[in-house]
Symmetry: C2
Subunit: 138 residues, 2 copies
DNA sequence: AAAGATTTTGCAACTATGTTGCTTTTTGTT
DNA sequence: AACAAAAAGCAACATAGTTGCAAAATCTTT
């Protein structure tokens, strides 16, 4: 079930380091998205804040994770599906934030709907975030 | 065209002060949304940062403005339509961020689409942010 | 397997952003 | 005009995020 962390790093031509293994491991072992703060907490204060920032940034650049904008304005990160390549994300799915447990889910099966924009507007990307109660909390 | 700032404040039972008049004026005199930083800059460094924060907070509570989550994770504020009441917002429209001029628009006529969520999920609020080129920049 | 080049980490310092408590000033009310 | 209530301003603090640089770890080459 759990994909090999080292494998993923190698495939993205990243050197295998302790922090990268641990941080990537955190993403693999749980369903929701993680905010920067979550990672620092769950990792047990092992590494520096700066390292977390830089690692997340690297993962985003490589297309391993993607960012999710949330209403409360904290950036969250979640694993990308395999069709994300370096510098080119394809996360055209809807995100769901549970107001009870505050877990953020990627609803990979729910595709972002088409929008009829007013004349003159052209959209290249549409972000949809739904808020409510998730299946575990109802 | 420009609504009376004092009128709006009175209608929301807010005392009329210099900062509130100026900040509300900024929102009325331009089409897009404003971030906290924009307000501090455009106001010409007249008042304290804290005042801006508290004024914006008051306006949000009263339903005069609403917040817009953006991809770059900076909160933006925009005027609410008249059907927003104290503590109860109705901003069920789509927001549009221009990648060129980075102005954020409220597309009041574009209603947030319905979503078919997976079983077990119930959404109370859906936020849609489209990114692209606006009518002035194309 | 060791040496050297390259990355990554961790530290310190700094900037930006946002919050809280308290005093002074302004506003609304009588 | 006088008083009570609310808002503004100030200082101090808290959190988030960035940058430069030296030390440590990783990768590569032999």
């Amino acid at each position: 079930m759990v994909k090999d962390v080292k494998e993923i790093l190698k495939n993205n031509s990243l050197s295998i380091t302790g922090s990268r293994e641990k941080i990537l491991g955190l993403f693999l072992e749980q369903p929701g998205a993680l905010a920067h703060g979550d990672i620092e907490k769950r990792a047990g204060e092992k590494f520096d804040r700066v390292t977390v920032y830089r690692t997340l940034q690297t993962f985003v650049e490589k297309g391993i994770i993607h960012t999710i904008p949330t209403a409360d304005n904290s950036i969250r990160y979640a694993l990308c599906k395999d069709d994300c390549k370096e510098g080119h994300h394809h996360d055209h799915h809807v995100h769901f934030v549970c107001t009870k447990c505050s877990i953020t889910y990627c609803l990979d099966d729910v595709v972002t709907p088409e929008l009829k924009l007013p004349k003159g507007y052209t959209s290249s990307h549409i972000e949809v975030v739904a808020e409510g109660i998730c299946k575990n909390c109802k």
